[in-house]
């Protein structure tokens, strides 16, 4: 009984600490007038969104960010898939070395990676282009997707594939009927993470694509200057994150 009460109390605290701070964004985004020291806005309105989509050009930034994130995630998943398979069943020092090389971009600040890439992208005409942004994001996103994908190919999945193969199932049917259903949850999680990492890239986007503002680049200047517009842009920024989370958790449940 007491244990239960403690659990409820901690749960409530967790909600307050983790989820509630985000709620302030909603209030702030619709706050037309919010003078200090009032706890609630004096007047509500849509100015934040008007400015965000007007001079902030949020609509274009959102579409660009979405395109780049989806393309990057798709590429990263396709490239990481075979690598994860190979790494899942290998052992020894060579595996560690390969893994370390592939994981390195994860540890290096994306602004550093982006600045180095910009050196070449400017010459190649890739700076401020969507392709340039996808390539820069791919460098950062690939290790995340790869590391999450590796556990997908457990010995049990490989055994199932072997069995399907010995029963005469072709490669495509094997992929659709055996591999994907048994790895779906992990693939969904990997893709979700990849999408979110690309979606929220700031440093690498600034370095290679400052002229083609992604949503994070559009958002930052407003934070100190106009909190209402910043909050409106933040809500926009949050939507795909929530959708992606919902999708991934559905994928997880179906796979279970």
């Amino acid at each position: 009984m007491t244990e239960r009460r403690i659990g409820r109390w901690v749960g409530a605290t967790a909600i307050v600490l983790f989820a509630a701070p985000l709620a302030v964004l909603v209030v702030q985004a619709f706050a037309e007038v919010w003078r200090y020291p009032a706890l609630l806005p004096q007047q509500l309105g849509l100015r934040g969104f008007r400015v965000a989509f007007g001079s902030g050009d949020a609509g274009r930034a959102t579409v660009d960010s979405l395109e780049v994130a989806v393309t990057t995630t798709a590429l990263a998943t396709v490239i990481a898939w075979p690598a994860a398979r190979a790494l899942a069943r290998s052992h020894g020092p060579r595996r560690t070395a390969v893994l370390m090389v592939l994981a390195l971009p994860l540890l290096v600040p994306p602004f550093a990676t982006g600045t180095g890439l910009a050196e070449w992208f400017i010459r190649l005409g890739l700076a401020d282009t969507r392709l340039g942004l996808v390539l820069a994001h791919l460098t950062v996103v690939l290790p995340y997707v790869l590391l999450v994908l590796i556990p997908a190919f457990s010995p049990r999945v490989i055994e199932l594939e072997e069995m399907a193969r010995s029963l005469g199932t072709g490669p495509v049917r094997r992929l659709l009927l055996v591999t994907l259903p048994s790895t779906g949850a992990v693939v969904a999680a990997a893709a979700l993470l990849g999408f979110l990492v690309s979606w929220s890239q700031y440093g690498s986007s600034l370095a290679v694509g400052g002229g083609l503002p992604m949503l994070p680049l559009t958002l930052l200047p407003f934070v100190g200057a106009d909190p209402t517009v910043a909050a409106a842009l933040s809500l926009l920024f949050l939507v795909p994150a929530i959708l992606a989370l919902a999708l991934a958790s559905r994928g997880t449940r179906e796979a279970l």
Binding site: P21, V108, A112, L160, S234, F237
Partner: protein, 292 residues
């Protein structure tokens, strides 16, 4: 859509495989990822090195010099940035690890709902957390309005407390997820077995739980430390005017002088990159040594 019943589908041994075929096909499988990493990431590092040793707007004269490096090393601002980044990385990663260990120990026997609530910040971008932190904790923010005034400075504080809070908020749940992944049923069974064999709770913790969580905890903490070390947009929003972090130092260098700043920026970013790589290798070795 389970096509095969996993429990019954268990062949005695893998069949239909040519011996020796695996090694070469694994190389082919790894090739695309290695190619992307070597070309793009390797190219980025080479590009940064090139920028750091190249005279501004190079091309006409094909010389190189260490002027940017010299300028950086003789700038006290660089050393302050290095110290600040190190301090933030240490405090934020250790605090996250400690809280995560406690939280995971508590959460492992709780329901799914609670675990989901705790994992919410994992999906929220750093930038958003920083925006929320500004709304709540900046002077004139919600906390100020509710409490009159905050007893300590958080946003733009010289201590970097605002930056640390954002990273602890973001990275603790990430570490909790890593820990919960290894604290599942298998571990519980082993704990029970140890207890049945007469191990005290302390012994179970030391010899059963700790060896299982140590590796993910170390690797997770390593990632968090490297992250914070390269912090960029969070200190841009929440950091003090001075000192900068290494990444914001680089950014300021390019802003201060579009020409001569590039080399200095690239040099300091290479320091940040190098340090992150060293952190990675060090803890990876530590984690592996624990396995032997």
């Amino acid at each position: 859509m389970a096509v095969l019943d996993r429990r019954s589908a268990r062949p005695a041994s893998p069949v239909g495989r040519r011996p020796g075929a695996r090694g070469s096909s694994d190389v082919v499988r790894l090739l695309p990822a290695l190619l992307v990493t070597v070309v793009l990431f390797g190219g980025a590092l080479v590009g940064a090195v090139k920028q750091s040793v190249e005279p501004p707007l190079g091309g006409a004269v094909s010389t190189w010099s260490l002027d940017s490096w010299r300028a950086m090393f003789s700038d006290p601002g660089f050393w302050d940035a290095l110290r600040f980044s190190t301090q933030l990385a240490l405090i934020a990663s250790l605090a996250s690890a400690g809280i995560a260990l406690l939280a995971a120990t508590w959460l492992r026997s709780r329901g799914r709902g609670l675990k989901t609530i705790f994992s919410v910040p994992v999906t929220v971008p750093h930038l958003l957390v920083a925006v929320v932190a500004v709304s709540w904790l900046a002077p004139g923010g919600i906390a100020d309005r509710a409490l009159g005034s905050l007893p300590i400075g958080i946003v733009h504080a010289r201590s970097g407390l605002g930056i640390i809070l954002v990273y602890v908020y973001k990275e603790t749940p990430f570490l909790v997820l890593l820990l919960l992944a290894v604290m599942g049923r298998t571990l519980r069974r082993r704990e029970e077995a140890a207890a049945v064999l007469g191990a005290s709770p302390g012994q179970v913790l030391r010899w059963v739980v700790w060896p299982a969580v140590r590796r993910p905890l170390l690797i997770g903490t390593m990632i968090v430390a490297a992250f914070v070390f390269g912090a960029f947009e969070v200190p841009l929003l929440l950091g003090p005017n001075y000192p900068p972090t290494l990444a914001t130092y680089a950014f300021q260098a390019t802003q201060a002088s579009a020409l001569s700043g590039q080399g200095k920026a690239a040099a300091s970013l290479l320091v940040a990159a190098g340090a992150s790589v060293v952190i990675g290798f060090a803890i990876m070795r530590l984690a592996r040594a624990g396995d032997d």
